[in-house]
């Protein structure tokens, strides 16, 4: 966005070649020092586990015939991958996640953006209090939030359902078609406030002269928001959208808990739940690893696609 921070003037050179070489060495040192912690963490918590998972997915237990008496670990090639891809429950997990993304990502991005624009426009009084109240749900750990929501969703316990029932409205939050929106709702509460803070921070950094120019040109509040503010903070919007997408692909906590409460959320409802179920309930580590690798590839591909698409939009906009 702004490049003026980077153009600090260098000190006047004394001996050009020596300082350049020393400078380069210093630069390399700085690079290494600054990158080392990140690289170490990347290797330890990402590359090594990914490599291990790929290994587990290619080498797995093999059996003959009925398989009694134990098997041996051999190279099984793509067998686990073929098994995962032919598993209807994995594919339906994909379906559930796709639907969840389609509902959740636009809702959370647009919702958070709308809240941030409202706060920024000064229409809301007690701005700090509002900001804190909106951010508060994010401070509640996901599992706790899910427990609270589950209480509100369960017939016989929920005061909400009771209230509706008194008005003669039967409402089933855990039904066949309502259960996904119910999960989206849980995720929204924690997601909205957090993303709103990101948008709000970006809006605060907007150059005031641009907004002034818009006002002088006769643009109203809504018009300024949609045609001036939003395009300028597009970078944040893309980032929030992408993070929400990646988070959505890894949906686990909320449905895992709801699995205990309603048969409409089965034990392989989302991709991450499928992986957990394969590894720890079906004791099939090859299958779990193959599914994990597939999820990783899909996540990377989607992130790449979103970045490329946003980049192209930006270039064509210019």
């Amino acid at each position: 966005m702004s490049s003026d921070t980077r153009t600090a003037t260098p000190p006047p050179p004394t001996d050009p070649t020596r300082t350049r070489r020393a400078g380069r060495r210093q630069q390399t040192l700085a690079c290494v020092t600054l990158l080392a912690p990140f690289t170490a963490l990347l290797v330890a918590v990402f590359l090594v586990p990914v490599g291990y998972a790929i290994g587990l997915s290619l080498f797995s237990e093999d059996h003959d015939g009925l398989g009694f008496g134990g098997g041996e670990t051999v190279f099984t090639g793509l067998r686990s991958y073929l098994a995962v891809l032919s598993d209807p429950s994995f594919l339906s997990g994909f379906g559930a996640i796709a639907l969840y993304c389609v509902i959740f990502v636009p809702t959370v991005v647009i919702g958070a953006l709308a809240l941030a624009l409202l706060l920024d426009s000064g229409l809301i009084r007690l701005r700090r209090t509002a900001q804190m109240l909106l951010y508060l749900p994010h401070a509640v750990p996901g599992i706790i939030a899910a427990v609270i929501w589950l209480y509100l969703y369960t017939p016989g316990l929920s005061p909400v359902i009771k209230l509706f029932a008194e008005a003669d409205v039967t409402i089933d939050f855990l039904g066949l078609h309502t259960v996904l929106p119910s999960i989206v709702n849980i995720a929204l509460w924690s997601g909205l406030g957090y993303n709103m803070v990101i948008f709000y921070a970006a809006l605060q950094a907007l150059p005031r002269e641009v907004l002034e120019a818009a006002r002088i040109d006769g643009a109203g509040g809504v018009r300024t928001a949609l045609l001036v503010k939003v395009p300028i903070i597009r970078g944040s919007v893309v980032m929030v959208g992408m993070f929400s997408l990646i988070g959505a692909l890894q949906l686990f906590t909320e449905p895992m808990l709801m699995n205990q409460a309603t048969p409409m959320v089965n034990s392989r409802f989302t991709l991450n739940m499928y992986i957990y179920d394969a590894a720890f309930r079906r004791n099939n580590y090859g299958l779990a690893s193959a599914a994990s690798v597939i999820l990783l590839v899909v996540t990377c591909a989607l992130s790449f696609a979103v970045t490329r698409w946003a980049g192209r939009r930006e270039r064509s906009a210019k």
Binding site: H63, G67, A83, N283
Partner: protein
């Protein structure tokens, strides 16, 4: 369902210990001792007894172990209470086996045994199991723990299915106790007519696949067939379709109540009479006494309804086995302990002293012991063990469980829940369970075909 009888009143036990300083001191000493033996690196003290470890979720296990340790000197057993299978017990056991610290002896239920055997957790005990013990066990139970002629576990109880029903309601309205499935349906209609709030039985969602398996088993179905050295899977064979269509009709005509087994909701219905019957393994008799004390004198147990009374047949629901693990350093001693657990009247008495149990022993010789210990006034003095004994003879020996039943059961239960909510059918649920099980078996490299 079976999980229910595994609930152990642990808190009560430890709570009692706290109040007795002597016992607390002993416990500390015992802990110190086990800590010492563990840090010693060897579990055999020179000249001392062989120590073996035992994991179980079965109620009464601690009492049985105490009795064993009291009466035996050469082998001493360290017992650890583990969660019941679906509460994490299976995962705990397979993870321990993966990590190489599985116990010497562990409890498995019949449906889970093939899966564990394929994963190489239990030891092949064909040559270890004394013939004298083998001969005492009901052959149908032995068949369920034997694959390709090799035995992997020793049955402790086998649970023929029976029909528990509210005798008072049936008598009051002159409803006949059904002997066949056709009569079961007409009795169901009569009951609903006479008591509009009441239903003859439940179609279970959670726990429903195992109950359905027992029904299919009786009808002569074979979800898994291993006769050709390959897993032939068919969860929609002709007998399964017959059973599923029958239950679908009961469901569609609102003659059975849809509810999860072992749930609060279901128990409340049993108490109120809104659910007036229960189709389950023999163990259910004891479970009913413990969980529904107010039903005393109201309930009775009938033989399971038959498809063809001239050719009676039966399936089971529930039941457990003991296995020696492959990693065990003392397989012989482990086997000795298991033989005692399964065949000794002392073991059974110790178990029954810990609480009500109507589990039907896999060793028929023990039935008189169980019968003597059981106070059947709840069932108006009915000779329930005599009934179980007759029913156990009818168990069809052809049934085999599959290699990944945990997965099959949970998928089937999900489908049954949807069928109960009006989306899809019972048969769809079973077909889907098969579809969702196949990838697991294929990825294990097993030879699999569907018929």
């Amino acid at each position: 369902m079976p999980g229910q009888r595994h609930l152990v009143p642990r808190q009560a036990t430890s709570g009692r210990l706290v109040h007795v300083p002597g016992a607390a001191l002993l416990m500390v000493l015992a802990m110190l001792l086990t800590a010492c033996s563990a840090s010693g690196g060897s579990d055999t003290v020179e000249g001392g007894p062989v120590r073996i470890t035992f994991w179980s979720a079965l109620r009464g296990s601690q009492e049985m172990v105490d009795e064993y340790n009291r009466t035996h000197t050469k082998i001493q057993v360290d017992f650890e209470q583990v969660p019941s299978g679906d509460q994490g017990g299976w995962a705990k056991l397979s993870n321990a086996a993966r990590a190489g610290n599985a116990p010497d002896v562990a409890t498995l239920e019949y449906p889970q045994l093939p899966g564990f055997a394929i994963d190489g957790v239990p030891r092949d005990i064909t040559d270890l199991l004394p013939d004298s013990v083998r001969a005492k066990i009901l052959p149908q139970a032995m068949d369920l723990t034997t694959f390709e002629g090799r035995t992997y576990a020793v049955p402790v109880d086998i649970e023929p299915m029976v029909f528990l029903y509210r005798k008072d309601l049936f008598t009051k309205h002159g409803i006949p106790v059904p002997k066949t499935w056709a009569e079961f349906e007409s009795s169901a209609r009569k009951l609903k007519e006479a008591e509009p709030a009441s239903r003859i039985a439940s179609l279970f969602t959670t726990g429903g696949t195992l109950a359905m398996a027992g029904l299919v088993w009786q009808a002569g179905g074979k979800w898994y067939d291993t006769s050709d050295e390959t897993w032939r899977i068919s969860m929609d064979d002709a007998p399964t379709r017959k059973v599923a269509t029958y239950w679908q009709r009961l469901l569609d005509d609102d003659l059975v109540r849809v509810e999860p087994a072992s749930s609060q909701q279901w128990r409340a219905h049993l108490r109120s009479g809104e659910t007036a019957g229960w189709l389950a393994g023999a163990w259910a008799a004891g479970s009913m006494m413990a969980s529904t004390p107010s039903g005393k004198g109201k309930w009775a147990i009938a033989p399971f309804p038959q498809w063809d009374p001239s050719k009676p047949s039966l399936g089971t629901q529930g039941g457990s086995t003991f296995m020696v693990t492959k990693d065990s350093k003392h397989p012989k001693e482990a086997m000795e302990f298991i033989s005692w657990l399964v065949t000794s009247p002392d073991a059974l008495r110790a178990k029954l002293a810990s609480g009500i149990s109507s589990a039907y022993p896999a060793v028929p010789d023990l039935v008189p012991v169980a019968r003597k210990e059981m106070d059947t006034s709840y069932y108006s003095g009915q000779d329930i063990f005599g009934l179980f004994h007759k029913e156990a003879e009818l168990i069809d020996p052809e049934w085999k469980w599959g290699p990944r039943m945990v997965s099959t059961i949970s998928s089937g239960d999900d489908g049954l829940a949807r069928a109960g909510a009006g989306s899809g059918t019972i048969l769809d649920a079973l077909r889907e369970a098969q579809q969702k099980t196949l990838p697991d078996l294929k990825s294990l490299g097993l030879s699999v075909t569907t018929r």
